[in-house]
Point group: C2
Chain length 117, copies 2
């Protein structure tokens, strides 16, 4: 699983002489770091990244039956990928009869993009 994140104080240099002058601290809150990492991790697969690209370029809701033949993986594998994106809050889905439609929730991507800039 993802690693824990406990921030302990700075150690002192062995011989008294500092290896470098700055004392650095992470100033991302733990919760934010984990949220960003969650989004990034969900994007960390070529299939999922391409899924996002497809959904985003289409700017609408896309049926799963359109997505499946675009990739060289089984239907169940694609379903797993879509679920990962859904759990990470990057996409949402909607059922209409037999079909399921997926679409991008832009907020998550914007969060990460903002953090990167």
């Amino acid at each position: 699983m993802s690693s824990e994140l406990t921030l302990t104080p700075k150690q002192k240099s062995p011989n008294g002489e500092p290896c470098c002058e700055p004392v650095v601290y992470p100033d991302v809150e733990r919760a934010e770091a984990e949220r960003m990492a969650e989004i990034a991790k969900a994007l960390g697969d070529p299939i999922r990244l391409t899924l996002i690209d497809v959904l985003r370029k289409h700017a609408g809701k896309v049926c799963v039956c359109e997505l499946v033949p675009l990739f060289d993986v089984s239907q169940s594998t694609l379903s797993h990928h879509l679920k990962k994106l859904r759990v990470a809050g990057i996409v949402d889905s909607e059922r209409q009869g037999l079909w399921a439609y997926y679409y991008v929730n832009p907020e998550a991507l914007e969060e990460l993009s903002a953090w990167l800039s």
Copy 2:
């Protein structure tokens, strides 16, 4: 019941009515998708993400001996994380005597940020 879902051909809807009108294609090149996924995957861990944050906020080169005590993991584990970031092209490092200094290579993060926007 035999799910003979071959993935190449687009399946047609049962009653002839399309489930959705658009035919979608991924227009990210495979290589780009894999590169973006590589960057995102490297960021997909709270420790590595916080490392990036620390290095970036400092806007200079930071000694590993400053980084290790910030996290609740062993020195070797942190070294593993730094290597992952290095291999992904997100950070670079420089040796000075006993110490190793790490710093962010902004290009990789900008690539991903640009892709997200």
